[in-house]
Symmetry: C2
Subunit: 368 residues, 2 copies
């Protein structure tokens, strides 16, 4: 990014305020994977692009699909349309998405020689991502803030070693327990690459950044702290604090299945902890609410129920967090509503409207 | 079971003593799925049987494979060779295991009409299980105790509604959130069926019983208590306390991914809580150790590391629990060593020997 881009002033800062534990007049809401296959307009754009990576690497398409859910729903944030595995792809591992399957790497990293070849990739190989960030930010025109993101070092390592998704993590854990030295080497490279990647997204216009530790929860107690948390901390230590327009850029860390390690995650140098649906928000608030905003955590499967049931479940989640603080002069516990995991491709789009409306309406009532 | 079977006296009661929080001179160890595909002799018997259900329904084969791991390793307990889904199969849903795939039901339970047809099955349809229990108990000849088991009401419901395994539990959760009345009906029938099933296993000779709540951890906080825990409690309330030889029959409850609900599980009327590898045994002991023995919880993937690394990880797990109490006159915190989930079919059998030896040796040292 040779020149600093400039952007329209932000009109809805509810999400950013909540990230920084400032009072808001409603609980902001966005949805993980909100630009996705449950939207027919997304499927139409994807069909034009030919493939998932065709969509992610084309700036115009990536911009188009990022904005699609905002046209339908009054969401409080947008998130860059991309994939968590762009970084190892740029390392030369060859990412692809076969029809109906998950991601796959042409080259898996399973021995000393493969590990020795790993290095922080040239960010020029990821220019399509940074160009998309700038393009989306311009297209948003100050409507809501734009979140950039990356996979966590551990989550990237899972895919790099397994070569694809896994249901038992056998290969990556075999390396972890047999050759912890190799695993640490991969994680060091990943952490430094992720930090550079997120900083470049911030320079391109990202207003918040999120680290998806999607597979942290598969680790054993002890191994999680050593092989996931420590490297998330290494990323955070290298991140810029301010964006191109001089605003603070909040950092969000989401470890799926990480509820048991919440106290330790509360020590991370980040602003927001993302939680899945197994966690009780009230208990989480008692543990870390004074230091972190909390993001989450309704079960995405709630969206298959009729609207009245969705509303009831939304209320339960909002009330499990309890009333956010209301003093604009201080910081205090805040909640950002989200799913506990990405939205399902089978979700009826009109049910999402019911959820967003219920969050806004009920959270306003809770502040009265 | 028309006549009460009689059996040889028990020679190794370490497991049963630890279940009842009595002092033992070493930490007992057994492994979930210890009779399984990682053993070549198991694969040979299974080949003779033709299929998984062919193996499970033949009393001689089931006896043979149950005893195979005891011939190799000095394990402190045997567990009935069977499947968690025998009960819904006996309800008429038609269980099968396609080669290389998981279980599948011919009929899934997805609407009011299908739910209305469910009833506690005639235990005669499960006679092959009870006959296997008696046969195994006789073949054990008092060597170690025999554990009977069942899937939990919720875990059975997952398979009954989905019709097979699932990675998102969309169908069963859609029913849960859309038609909680139907879900409660299924769970009531399941709980009463599981209780009858386990009681009949006890009458046939089972010396401990375990409820596998394999999918409790996929539920949201709140839903877990209502749809899994409450029905596990309903099973426990109906269970016999003594076996055919007048001995107390300990009850073990294992919820995979249930670590966040440990305090509530500590209130269950059972003797042992099984834990997966995400839980810190020391913290768990502090929460519930005064009321329950704890079983677990090494990551099965540790078994892919070399023996020296396996030993080191075994020590970590034993030491995370800490020293068990040593006063034979009182009850106190006890630990039963196990994996945090079933053993992988790819495990090298000689690594299991290293694990069992390390548990016995190191736990003896910890008592000195």
């Amino acid at each position: 990014m040779s020149s600093t881009p400039s952007f329209a002033p932000l009109r809805n800062d509810t999400f950013l305020r909540a990230c920084l534990r400032q009072a808001t007049d409603h609980t902001p809401v966005w949805l993980m994977r909100q630009a996705g296959r449950y939207l027919p307009e997304y499927c139409a754009t994807r069909a034009k692009a030919g493939s998932f990576m065709g969509l992610a690497t084309n700036v115009d398409y990536a911009t188009e699909v990022t904005l699609q859910p905002l046209e339908r729903y009054p969401l409080d944030a947008a998130i860059l349309f991309s994939d968590i595995l762009t970084v190892p792809d740029a390392m030369g591992l060859g990412l692809s998405f076969a029809q109906g399957e998950g991601p796959r790497f042409a080259t898996a990293v399973r021995d000393e020689a493969a590990v020795a070849k790993l290095a922080v990739p040239d960010m020029d190989k990821l220019r399509y991502v940074f160009d998309a960030v700038t393009s989306i930010r311009k297209a948003l025109d100050g409507r809501v803030p734009l979140i950039g993101f990356s996979g966590s070092p551990w989550t990237l390592a899972c895919y790099m070693v397994e070569g694809a998704g896994s249901d038992d993590y056998r290969l990556v854990k075999t390396m972890l327990y047999s050759r912890p030295d190799l695993m640490h080497k991969i994680l060091q490279v990943n952490a430094d690459a992720v930090a550079t990647y997120l900083n470049t997204q911030i320079d391109a216009g990202a207003q918040a950044v999120m680290i998806f530790d999607s597979w942290g929860g598969v680790l054993a107690d002890g191994a999680f702290q050593q092989f996931s948390l420590a490297y998330t901390a290494r990323v955070l230590a290298q991140l810029k604090h301010t964006g191109v327009d001089g605003q603070v850029v909040p950092r969000i860390v989401f470890t799926k299945g990480g509820g048991l390690w919440l106290e330790e995650m509360g020590q991370l140098d980040c602003d927001v902890l993302g939680l899945d649906w197994t966690v009780n928000l009230g208990k989480a608030r008692a543990l870390v609410g004074a230091h972190k905003a909390l993001q989450g955590n309704i079960d995405p499967n709630v969206l298959f129920a009729p609207p009245a049931a969705i509303e009831a479940e939304v209320k339960k989640v909002l009330e499990s967090f309890g009333a956010p603080h209301r003093d604009p002069a201080t910081q205090g516990p805040t909640h950002i509503f989200n799913l506990g995991h990405g939205i399902s491709q089978y979700t009826p789009p009109e049910h999402v409207a019911a959820l967003v409306q219920a969050v806004h309406e009920h959270s306003r009532k809770m502040r009265k």
